[in-house]
């Protein structure tokens, strides 16, 4: 599983990364986490608000930080927020 955080280094982007890390640690999942800071790459996903969360190439959240519980659901593929 590949999880990407799209954001240019703002405080909220880092917070999103923390939430992702916490979620996968608690779930015991092995995932590759990338923090994408290159704006050209970010734009290829077509988001207009950061931070955004991409799981396996699919944008799941843009412009807000899901809670830990929501994050776990997203990672386990149960729902989108």
């Amino acid at each position: 599983m590949k999880i990407e955080i799209l954001g240019m280094g703002c405080a909220t982007c880092n917070k999103l990364e923390d939430t992702v890390r916490l979620a996968i640690r608690e779930m015991g999942i092995d995932a590759q986490i990338d923090h994408v800071k290159d704006i050209k790459k970010i734009m290829t996903y077509g988001v207009m608000t950061t931070p955004a969360l991409v799981i396996d190439g699919e944008v799941k959240v843009a412009g807000k930080i899901p809670s830990l519980a929501e994050m776990k659901q997203l990672i386990s593929g149960q729902s989108r927020v």
Binding site: T12, M43, T44, V47, M48, T49, T50, G63, S67
Partner: protein, 349 residues
């Protein structure tokens, strides 16, 4: 603008949608009886000396603080609900293919309503330009979004009355429309970094979950928690400064440097205000103190608009996508607009 976008709303407890509505009558009651209540407390219970400066300062502080907070909470809540109907993606769609002038008007208006924060300025800018929205229209959005701010609107309304608030909002909108239009006419596309035009943005459509009215109430509630928790300290500090000035600094103290007879006060206020960056909450109580001591409304408004509308951090962020000449033109055009508004107000009042 300082109220930076992303919020983790999921960690907070969900509230029932009827609770805010139950609280509104209380807020209205407190608002109506606030002045009598404070007078009763200050003169009746505490028995403070009516003529003392300290009493005046305490009374001012006790009256203004709850008043501003009630207004702030209600307006931010309502704006939060309204904003849940808008998104940058929808705004972009609405602006696509709009001609210059009409596009500027729409972009400026949508700039007020679309949730936006400085940290998303770049993806938003690229997203707009890339989908063919003219540069001038994009700038109208970028000027209006920070310039017309709900916290500023509330504070102006609460402290100076609805006329000032309305003047602020309408002139701010006008500045955004006209400066975007001017930038559009100047044909400055060459000052946008080349790579911006080369980006092939993915067309991403996030499946929209059905948004219920309860969700929107939740969005309003989140906005209140988010914004009030960020700005309350500035507001209290600002009102305290205002109260101190109110009680102690002599009347017309500011008139000699910020009064309307002093023509250079407007450009000076803008010159000082542009590099300064503060959120609206911090600046307005200080404004009040200035006004009360004889600064003219035009000068004070120009100062406020330049502080919240134009900021160094935003320029630094935008520098990544646009070249320096365009940044300079952008700042000059908007600053000129603000100055004109300042002079106009000084003339009228």
């Amino acid at each position: 603008m300082a109220e930076c976008c992303a919020t983790d709303n999921g960690n907070k407890k969900k509230i029932n949608y009827y609770i805010p509505f139950l609280l509104i009558p209380f807020a209205v009651l407190i608002y109506i009886f606030l002045e009598q209540g404070v007078d009763f407390l200050v003169y009746g219970i505490l028995q403070l000396d009516r003529s003392a400066h300290l009493t005046e300062a305490i009374r001012f502080f006790l009256y203004d603080t709850p008043k501003v907070f009630i207004l702030l909470t209600v307006i931010v809540f309502v704006v939060g609900i309204i904003r849940s109907y808008f998104s940058p993606e929808k705004t972009r769609k609405a602006l696509e293919g709009k001609p210059l002038f009409a596009g500027n008007i729409m972009a400026a208006s949508l700039g007020i309503l679309t949730p936006f924060c400085t940290c998303s300025a770049i993806p938003l800018f690229i997203g707009f330009v890339e989908s063919g929205i003219p540069l001038g229209v994009t700038f109208s959005f970028l000027v209006a979004a920070p310039m017309i701010n709900e916290v500023a609107l509330v504070l102006l309304f609460g402290l100076f009355g609805w006329k000032t608030a309305l003047l602020y909002a309408s002139t701010g909108l006008l500045i955004a429309i006209v400066s975007g239009w001017v930038i559009g006419r100047l044909k400055l596309e060459r000052f946008v970094e080349e790579w911006v035009y080369e980006i092939k943005a993915g067309d991403f459509q996030m499946e929209e979950r059905k948004v219920t009215f309860n969700d929107r109430i939740q969005a309003g509630y989140t906005a209140v928690v988010d914004i009030v928790s960020k700005v309350w300290i500035y507001i209290v500090a600002g009102i305290a400064v205002g109260a101190a000035v109110h009680g102690y600094v002599p009347e017309n103290f500011m008139a000699s440097i910020m009064g309307k007879e002093v023509w250079w006060s407007v450009p000076l206020a803008v010159l000082i205000g542009v590099p300064l960056y503060s959120n609206a909450a911090g600046i307005i109580p200080i404004l009040q103190a200035l006004l009360e001591k004889g600064a003219s409304l035009g000068t004070a408004l120009a100062f406020m608009m330049s502080v919240i509308g134009l900021s160094l951090p935003e320029m630094i962020i935008l520098k990544k996508v646009i070249k320096l000449p365009l940044i300079i033109i952008f700042v000059s055009v908007v600053a000129t607009g603000i100055m004109i508004v300042g002079f106009l107000f000084n003339l009228i009042y």
